[in-house]
């Protein structure tokens, strides 16, 4: 009941014209970055971090939430019309969505994706509203040892689950942890990994790393390939945007199942959106009355995964808001934005900045409505965006990237660092290393070190504190399981 009262207060704040406008801009920009290849919500939010000096926190986070949800919506358009997912979570949508477009049913595919995203996004936000206060109560029992173990679990899970190789995932994580150590140690004042450069004393900004890895890295990779010189062939926007009674009947259960898969998996460390979309696709394939249509353009194969994708976006926000632990690259960048405002995330956020949190949650409900209105009628506009020739598209993306980095402090050193991270991003893309663990490692390593030190100070230097406290021991045991289980399973299968 208390949560509902707080949510009503959040709605009152989110429905003020200024906040609503920021939410609208966020949804618009989010859909655009979801549609455009080479851009994603993590990169876009990172680019907008310099704005945190000028815009109130509530407006900024409402916009960021709009970008996050909007990108999840927008990704489906390229999957369906271009067979090229704008983001990894939309890969599954392209399997059936593009086949529907080839059959002249692009409109229906886009409609079920948009309505499913709305339904699942709303269910996910409702679950966030109801579950978050309980998680906060549990999190209040966490001490530094538990936080350290939780961060270890989050980092290990991201590295183990993302990408195709555990070894490459762990190397990416190690690089992120190392980069996170650059700068002055806040407890002792000693310089670490600075090479005597005063520009590195404050550490490496997440904007520089995120934008370099994702935007410049992607542009370098594509220019290395030399294949993206013309816009790709688009499918015609065929078929009605209205769903028939048959389409509704086949879609609604898939939306609900997708939502119930997406939220809990999204809320887990490293759950992300890829796993629930895949699970949703296979669930629909198993339950459908029309198995012969799968692989040829089954509407359930679009409805379920798109719903799972959007519900997982709400799920990812839960550990960020309640525990202060990011479980995706976008959440890591958002955490950096919270830090920029001097706001401490975690259970205290719900007491110290309750108005901000509930406005943010309320804005997610409103954002879902805005996105439903934006997505379907404006689909023609989104299609036109895909016709921008790659040379001008990437020129624009890199210029905006430079603005995002240069605008934070007019530092030419940071622009140089941006291109260094771009080269790292290119190598990681080419040799199949996942990029998200680098960002999570970068942001979590100073936090994990601080928690470790606090835990050891409390325990008077006893390392056993991490395994004698039950919650901490449990979290560490799960981390070890995640590392060891795949190898053991492989050995058993042999």
């Amino acid at each position: 009941m208390e949560a509902l009262d707080a949510l009503m207060g959040g709605f009152a704040s989110a429905l003020t014209p200024t906040t609503l406008l920021w939410g609208f801009v966020g949804c618009l920009v989010g859909t655009m970055v979801g549609v455009l290849p080479g851009l994603g919500p993590a990169l876009t939010i990172a680019l907008l971090l310099p704005l945190t000096y000028h815009v109130p926190a509530t407006s900024m986070f409402v916009m960021f939430a709009g970008i996050y949800y909007g990108a999840a919506y927008g990704g489906s358009t390229t999957s369906i019309l271009l067979n090229t997912p704008g983001e990894t979570a939309s890969v599954i949508t392209s399997l059936e969505g593009n086949k529907m477009a080839r059959q002249g049913r692009a409109g229906q595919a886009l409609a079920t994706a948009a309505i499913g995203s709305f339904v699942a996004g709303t269910i996910g936000t409702l679950a966030l509203t109801l579950v978050a206060p309980f998680v906060v109560e549990i999190a209040l029992a966490f001490g530094p040892a538990e936080y350290f173990s939780l961060m270890v679990l989050s980092l290990v899970a991201v590295s183990a689950v993302l990408g195709k190789s555990l070894l490459r995932g762990l190397i990416a994580l190690g690089l992120g942890l190392l980069i996170g150590m650059v700068g002055i140690d806040l407890q002792t004042g000693q310089m670490r990994f600075t090479f005597g450069q005063p520009e590195l004393l404050d550490g490496i900004e997440i904007t520089v790393a995120a934008v370099g890895l994702f935007a410049v890295g992607e542009a370098l990779y594509l220019s290395w390939q030399g294949r993206s010189t013309k816009p790709e062939a688009l499918m015609k926007l065929s078929g009605s945007l209205w769903l028939s009674a048959g389409d509704w009947a086949r879609s609604w259960k898939a939306w609900l199942r997708g939502a119930f898969l997406g939220f809990p998996i999204g809320a887990m460390p490293a759950g992300g959106a890829e796993l629930p979309t895949l699970l949703s696709y296979y669930t629909e394939k198993k339950l459908t009355k029309y198995p012969q249509e799968f692989g040829k353009g089954a509407i359930e194969g679009v409805a379920g995964p798109e719903a799972a994708n959007n519900a997982s976006a709400a799920g990812v926000l839960m550990p960020l808001l309640t525990l202060g632990i990011p479980t995706s690259a976008t959440a890591a960048v958002m955490l950096s934005a919270f830090e920029g405002y001097g706001i401490q995330t975690g259970p205290q956020l719900f007491t110290n900045n309750a108005a901000l949190v509930w406005t943010l949650i309320a804005s997610l409900y409103i954002g879902n409505v805005i996105l439903l209105i934006l997505n379907l009628p404006l689909v023609g506009l989104w299609v036109k965006l895909l016709k921008i020739p790659p040379p001008w598209l990437y020129a624009g993306i890199i210029i905006v990237s430079i603005i995002g980095v240069y605008g934070a402090g007019n530092s030419i050193f940071n622009v140089a660092l941006l291109f260094v991270f771009g080269l790292l991003g290119y190598l990681m893309r080419r040799f199949d290393f996942p990029a998200a663990p680098v960002l999570l490692g970068l942001i979590l390593s100073p936090m994990a070190e601080q928690s470790m030190r606090q835990a050891l100070t409390i325990s008077q230097g006893q390392w056993s504190t991490f395994v004698t406290r039950p919650i901490s021991a449990g979290l560490l045991a799960v981390s070890v399981l995640l590392l060891v289980a795949p190898a053991v399973l492989r050995a058993v299968r042999r």
Binding site: G174, W224, I399, A416, L427
Partner: protein, 154 residues
């Protein structure tokens, strides 16, 4: 570049990091964990992983997109990448005295060149429109300080 070379690159990076860890001074403050423990642990872990990766790459078990025909680079890859990186260098070299728009335009032209657009008037006009548009959006409208548009202070 091959996966084995990437492995050697990682090992070299770890060795440089080891040298930096050895340069971290001991803290005068009495505490359970000093400033070098976490960096040393991370570098140690990364060094082990880099060795494993190099060994695995040497045995041919690591992937390179260049070896897949559908993903491999077309001829002129080094030239295209150099054009893109030159865009960044030109921006860094000129932004301190030429305002924002001209360096960003030149940078944009070189990036477009890396995607096989020709360097010419059309490219200059499109990139100057992009950089001027973004300067207006970010500097006067959103208040992000990216300096004056031109060297003449406006």
């Amino acid at each position: 570049m091959t996966p084995t070379r990437v492995g050697f690159l990682l090992i070299s990076l770890c060795l440089i990091a080891c040298w930096q860890v050895l340069n971290i001074p001991e803290s005068a403050i009495q505490m359970a964990v000093g400033p070098a423990l976490a960096p040393a642990s991370i570098v140690g872990l990364l060094l082990c992983l880099a060795f494993l990766y190099t060994l695995s790459a040497w045995r041919g078990r690591q992937v390179d997109e260049a070896s897949e025909p559908s993903q491999a680079a077309l001829p002129g890859a080094a030239y295209r990448m150099l054009a893109l990186l030159s865009g960044g260098v030109v921006f860094m070299g000129t932004v301190s005295f030429a305002g924002f728009v001209l360096p960003a335009t030149l940078c944009g032209m070189l990036i477009a060149r890396s995607f096989n657009a020709t360097l010419g008037l059309r490219s200059f006009l499109i990139c100057s429109c992009i950089s001027t548009g973004f300067w207006f959006l970010f500097n006067p409208m959103l208040g992000v300080g990216i300096g004056p548009a031109t060297p003449f202070g406006f």
